[in-house]
Amino acid sequence: MYYAVTFALIITMGLALARAIIGPSVYDRVLAMNMFGTKTVLLLAVMAFILGRPDFLDLALIYALINFIGVLAVLEFFQDRASRREEENEVES
């Protein structure tokens, strides 16, 4: 039964990657990578039990932390860039 879940997770990761590649906006890509990270955490948790190595759970926990921080950092960066562009437009007009 673990293998069925692994299969579903890998298919979903492929769908998320497809969304990340076709875009079209940068926010779609951030959304897809966030999804991909969540699926990676789940895949690590399932793999830990398929392989019988509970150490993988530590990796899953750390990956969840890094994924969250990474998504927030990228969003902060793009939000900053968007607001700076607006200010420039206002100065020009």
Partner: protein, 111 residues
């Protein structure tokens, strides 16, 4: 014996339901028309998918340290998933992207 069998059946049901929800969410994230509807689909894979899958694994693991770690992962995912979605939606709105239905509504008002 019967209790172990019951636990197996329940955890298998939870795991397969989680797999189905995750797959549906992934399909929606690929096929939906604009960013906000895609987020709606993707949030399914951020909340109910992990909840079902991790509770299914916990039932298989029993009362061990692994279960404690799994509960920590689940709680963390349940807190951070909606937070990241919220940040993404507000960043996209601030950048000037409007939802499709809002565009349709404003066009109707203009007519």
């Amino acid at each position: 014996m019967t209790l172990a069998l019951l636990l197996d059946i329940v955890s298998w049901l939870l795991l397969s339901a989680g797999g189905v929800f995750v797959f549906i969410g992934g399909l929606g994230a690929l096929r939906m028309p604009d960013l906000y509807t895609r987020m709606h689909a993707a949030s399914v894979t951020d909340t109910i998918g992990p909840a079902l899958i991790i509770i299914g694994i916990i039932l298989q693991a029993g009362l061990t340290l692994a279960s404690v770690k799994l509960v920590a992962i689940l709680l963390f995912l349940l807190v951070t998933g909606p937070t990241a979605s919220n940040a993404l939606a507000s960043a996209s709105l601030l950048a000037g992207n409007r939802p499709e239905f809002a565009k349709a509504l404003s066009e109707e008002e203009r007519q």
